[in-house]
């Protein structure tokens, strides 16, 4: 199979990303997602379709079909930075698993070029799909948002069973380093109890490297307006530093793992 000619759909490539895996990284944002998190800061990532978004009143087409070779051309340009910092390529989205062949080809191409790989993902896909990626993946940044199936479905559109099962399988594979990422969303999962539950889950997975608590931010709000979609989080304030510190303590206590605020 020819990885370099494999095509996929992306909506951005961001260089010098430093909160999405080790070192200085280039994030490729893949378009399309299975989930619909209310707080999503990249709402333009959710639809597979190429769409128009207003930025400062000017329409901009979001989404671009590209080959792996084209993406790698950009990714390779920052190789000196990866080498110095242990950085590399991070696939983000949307949900990279929604374009499994493209994601696989990208990761394999990076590995061929000796570039470190990371995946930022919800793990909401058949494990058979995920399994294929794991041999080419150095780090899995895995979102766990809530332990309650019902609340998960209510806020995200889908239940969490598949995600939790996959989390276990990914860790058990021993093929990649796993970090659990918890977006801390006021009114959704920001109580000590809820964080405690996720922390305990992470501990029981037995093999998670660390936990990131990512405080809610409203920096995606403009994009909802630009897409002519309602922003359902209006009025929600980012959690205070004190609150984040308190939750961090709980995450550490419940998981016994290395925990941090932010990516």
């Amino acid at each position: 199979m020819d990885d370099l000619n494999t095509k996929g759909r992306i909506f951005d490539i961001q260089r010098y990303s430093i909160h999405d895996g080790y070192g200085i990284r280039t994030i490729v944002f893949l378009k399309g997602c299975y989930l619909r998190c209310r707080w999503c800061s990249n709402p333009e990532s959710q639809e597979w379709e190429i769409q128009s978004m207003l930025i400062h009143g000017k329409p901009k087409l979001i989404g671009q079909d590209v080959t792996v070779a084209e993406v790698m051309e950009t990714v390779k340009r920052d190789r000196p930075y990866y080498r110095r910092t242990g950085g590399g390529l991070t696939l983000s989205g949307g949900e990279a698993l929604a374009q499994p062949e493209f994601a696989l080809a990208l990761l394999r191409a990076a590995r061929d070029s000796n570039i470190n790989t990371a995946l930022e993902s919800t793990a909401y896909a058949d494990f058979a799909t995920i399994e294929k990626l794991l041999p080419y993946l150095d780090q899995y940044l895995l979102d766990i948002k809530h332990m309650s199936a019902q609340k998960h479905k209510e806020y995200i559109g889908e239940s969490n069973e598949l995600i939790l099962e996959n989390a276990k399988k990914i860790v058990d594979s021993g093929l990649t380093e796993v970090s659990i990422r918890i977006p801390v969303i006021p009114g959704f999962n920001d109580t000590p109890l809820e964080i405690n539950e996720i922390g305990t889950f992470a501990k029981n997975l037995g093999g998670v490297k660390r936990i990131h608590l990512l405080p809610y931010h409203r920096l995606g709000q403009d994009k909802y307006e630009g897409l002519n979609r309602p922003y359902l989080m209006v009025g929600t304030l980012p959690p205070s530093r004190e609150k984040m510190e308190a939750l961090l303590a709980i995450a550490i206590q419940s998981s016994g793992l290395e925990c941090q605020i932010g990516g």
Binding site: R15, I24, Y81, R84, G87, H217
Partner: protein, 843 residues
């Protein structure tokens, strides 16, 4: 592994330092008249004597009589003015500008100075003596008429040395610390014994060596005046702690700088007198302490080992020296003040790096110097850090922590480029490895070099303007006739014409620089400075007459990014896509893309048309001028012109720009930089050295941009030019790594007088330990790709507020949050306000 162990821990700041800083900044700096009066008085008494003796005697006369003061709580003494941060004047270099600006110098925006009526009167009286006697006037007399014309037309400006001393030097601080001025004087006496009164160079050399002795004695006696003052104040002092401090100061000043320093405190005091007195002898700035952490280290280490010094006290002394570096000041003319804004004296002090043998010599003091800049939080010294593969990571983290504060320090330099670059200019391997930085970004070997580093500002966009105008500016033929652009049919024709214009302007720049060079040698040789530079004593001549081992002249070009983008736009829109002709481009540039011309811009065109008409034999009276004026205003702002201008600007916006890691554009930048750096290498200076180019603007890209019309890169008339070798503001939209990759593609070796790459960061990029690690990784990776210099502005609230108002200048500012993608300027006002709030909290 380096040569020395080092301590990385933070050392706290004492209360003394805050008090010293507060005192220093309590008032607007003031101009004083003592030096002007004393230098004049001395000159009047020595008219019959050899010039070099007169210079030495004037120096001695000043040091004997200039008022002295010990500021409250000081541990290191020596003040050039009674008022904190005050300045003296130097009429032997130039004075007319100061008199012309007497009444505006206090109210001007860039670097204002208070001046009393009494001072004005005294300075004016002193100045009267200097009519026709200044270096500036002699330099003018040595310049060709076309050189003066090019300067009038803002092709370049050698203003710095035209009006002031040269400076831009680092001396043998180590020698003074070791043997004192007493020892240096001994050397001069010994050297004198080697020559015979019948030798051909006897007259020059003997008088020069005598001048050195006079200067050394002057410095020694000046310190003793401080010793007496400290004793006097100690006697009156009721506070027992301060009394003891004053007695210690008195003891130090008796001993140094006459003799070698016997401990770290004396070394600090001795260093300071050298640093201060060089800047009393001449008004030249960028007197750079250089490798302070190296030559001070033996004194520190010995005291520490003996147990006579604590790290805490050593840090306090360093902090005191740092405060003193901000006590010196210089009043520049209004135009230069804008070019060097911020009262900066560019006293560059560099830490870390390798020694002559290639071993890393980072030590405790390297860390403590960074700490001192963090403690005093003032612009001086211009702190620099040397980086190579052997530089400890923890050391760069310490430096990055300072960068993160937003102070704009330190600047980072790449040993792997600077050393080979200096080797290619004839330095020995040992000397090249021991380089320091002068002023902004200019490398040299201390104590052996007269680098003339800041020789002129060369605006690379001005030859482009002349290319469009067939060598004319405001109706005057300033450059060669390279043909009307309407007749040019290939890109190469246009580019060749640009090169012809540039090379001609460079030849005039050299003419200007060498005229100034000769004038300094003939009117203001500096014996005190020359006592601390090899091989002046052996050669028997001052630095200004070619006494230094290494001699250079380094004028700096800027506008590389504007030129690269402009040429690429011409290639694409005119010759590849044929959307617009060169003639159409010329016409729209003439009217600033229909965005309006300022009064000067309109006046320029009126002058041009009037001259054309009168050359054609037509009468040009007031009525005709009024008509031309009306026509120009109508034409430049008609709705048709405006629409056309906007359309062309949109096309230009679509053309890729330098700074985005795009090979084709970056190749233009590399090549256009060569049009400046290569021709310069063909020229020599009167001191026996060569010209070498720098690529950096200090802050002249702003005032000189104001003298530059619209350029084909879409830059509007009068707006700033690009900063150093950095991309044009807002042109780099692919992030810092892409910008760094583009800049690294320039040939940094050939610009051996230094390049300057400035990056702006949002503080989120440097958050936490990982933020610092990655930031250091960015610097190292740029240096792996053979970039030469990097410095950073970590943006503060003010900058972000400005970004809200002028988003086009800040297109590159990325907000970095996990898993999120956006540029600052694409956010709504409300979200931008959130980020600004976040910036202010320092999170």
């Amino acid at each position: 592994m380096g040569l020395y162990a080092y301590d990385t821990r933070d050392i706290p700041k004492t209360k003394r330092i805050d008090k010293l800083v507060d005192h220093l900044y309590a008032k607007m700096p003031e101009i004083e008249s003592a030096r002007a009066m004393l230098v004049t008085e001395s000159y009047q008494q020595t008219e019959q004597e050899p010039l070099i003796i007169r210079r030495a005697k004037a120096f001695a006369h000043i040091l004997e009589h200039i008022p002295i003061i010990i500021r409250d709580l000081e541990l290191i003494v020596g003040s050039t003015t009674i008022a904190p941060r005050g300045c003296q004047t130097y009429p032997e270099f130039s004075f007319a500008w100061l008199e012309a600006e007497f009444d505006t110098v206090e109210s001007r925006l860039a670097d204002p100075f208070y001046i009393s009526e009494q001072t004005k009167k005294e300075i004016k009286e002193a100045n009267a003596y200097w009519h026709g006697k200044t270096t500036s006037e002699l330099a003018t007399a040595y310049m060709e008429s076309e050189t003066l014309r090019a300067m009038e037309h803002n092709m370049f400006t050698p203003g710095n040395y035209f009006y002031n001393g040269i400076g831009h030097v680092s001396v043998q601080y180590d020698v003074v610390l070791a043997v004192g001025f007493g020892g240096i004087k001994e050397r001069a006496i010994k050297e004198l014994e080697t020559i015979h009164l019948g030798d051909a160079n006897y007259q020059k050399k003997s008088r020069f060596l005598e001048a050195i002795q006079i200067s050394c004695d002057a410095a020694i006696n000046y310190a003793k005046r401080y010793a007496s003052l400290a004793l006097e104040e100690a006697e009156k002092c009721a506070d027992q702690v301060r009394k003891l401090e004053l007695l210690e100061i008195a003891k130090n000043c008796v001993h140094v700088p006459e003799k070698g320093a016997t401990n770290f405190y004396e070394a600090c005091q001795s260093f300071w007198f050298v640093q201060q007195l060089i800047q009393i002898e001449s008004s030249g700035h960028s007197i750079s302490p250089g490798r302070f952490d190296q030559y001070m280290y033996p004194y520190y280490k010995e005291d520490l080992e003996k147990g006579t010094l604590t790290k805490e006290f050593a840090q306090e002394l360093l902090d005191c020296v740092w405060v003193k570096l901000n006590d010196l000041n210089k009043c520049r003319d209004a135009v230069s003040a804008e070019g060097f804004a911020g009262y900066s004296l560019f006293q560059n002090l560099i830490v870390g790096g390798q020694n002559e043998e290639g071993l890393d010599v980072t030590n405790d003091l390297s860390f403590m110097c960074i700490q001192a800049s963090g403690h005093v939080f003032l612009p001086q010294p211009s702190l620099s850090v040397r980086v190579w593969s052997g530089t400890p990571h923890v050391f760069l983290i310490k430096a990055a922590e300072l960068t993160r504060t937003g102070i704009g320090l330190p600047a980072y330099y790449n040993d792997e480029v600077v050393i080979p670059s200096l080797l290619s200019r004839g330095l020995t391997l040992e000397d090249a490895r021991d380089y320091c930085i002068i002023g902004c970004v200019e490398p040299q070997k201390a104590g052996k070099t007269d680098g003339w580093h800041d020789a002129a500002f060369f605006n690379m966009c001005r030859p482009l303007e002349l290319t469009f105008q067939n060598g004319q500016d405001k109706g005057v033929q300033v450059g060669p006739k390279t043909g009307e652009v309407s007749a040019m049919t290939t890109f190469e024709q246009f580019y060749d014409a640009y090169k012809v214009q540039t090379e001609y302007a460079i030849s005039l720049l050299v003419n200007a620089n060498n005229a100034i060079d000769v004038a300094h040698a003939e009117r203001c040789p500096l014996p005190f400075l020359s006592a601390m530079i090899d091989d002046c004593m052996v050669r028997g001549k001052s630095v200004q007459e070619g006494g230094a081992v290494y001699n250079f002249t380094g004028p700096q070009g800027f506008g590389v990014a504007n030129m690269a983008d402009s040429l690429y736009v011409i290639q694409k829109l005119v010759f590849d896509e044929k959307k617009i002709t060169l003639q159409e481009l010329k016409e729209i540039l003439d009217v600033n893309y229909g965005k309006g011309l300022n009064a000067d811009g309109v006046a320029d065109i009126v002058t041009k048309v009037a001259i054309e008409m009168s050359t054609a034999g037509r009468q040009v009276g007031e009525a005709e001028i009024a008509l031309i004026l009306q026509n120009i205003i109508d034409m430049s702002q008609s709705s048709e012109v405006q629409a056309k201008g906007s359309r062309i600007l949109e096309w230009i916006a679509q053309v890729p720009k330098f700074g985005n890691d795009i090979e084709e554009v970056d190749a233009f930048a590399r090549d256009v930089a060569y049009t400046y750096t290569r021709p310069l290498l063909n020229y020599k200076n009167p001191r026996g050295g060569i010209f070498q180019a720098g690529l950096y603007p200090v802050s002249a890209n702003v005032p000189m941009g104001a003298q530059t019309g619209a350029t084909p890169d879409g830059r509007l008339a009068y707006t700033p030019l690009a900063d150093g070798v950095s991309p044009s503001a807002g042109a780099d939209t692919n992030g810092p790594t892409a910008a760094a990759n583009s800049v690294a593609k320039l040939d940094h070796y050939i610009a051996s007088n230094g390049t300057l790459f400035n990056q702006k960061f949002h503080p989120t990029a440097l958050e936490g330990k990982t933020g610092l690690d990655n930031f250091v990784g960015l610097i190292r990776s740029f240096f792996d790709q053979k970039g030469s210099h990097m410095q950073f502005n970590v943006v503060d609230k003010t900058t972000l507020l400005d970004a809200q108002k002028n988003p086009e200048q800040y297109k590159h500012l990325v907000v970095r949050v996990a898993g999120y993608s956006a540029l600052f300027v694409t956010l709504s006002k409300s979200l931008q306000d959130d980020i600004i709030g976040r910036t202010e909290q320092g999170v």
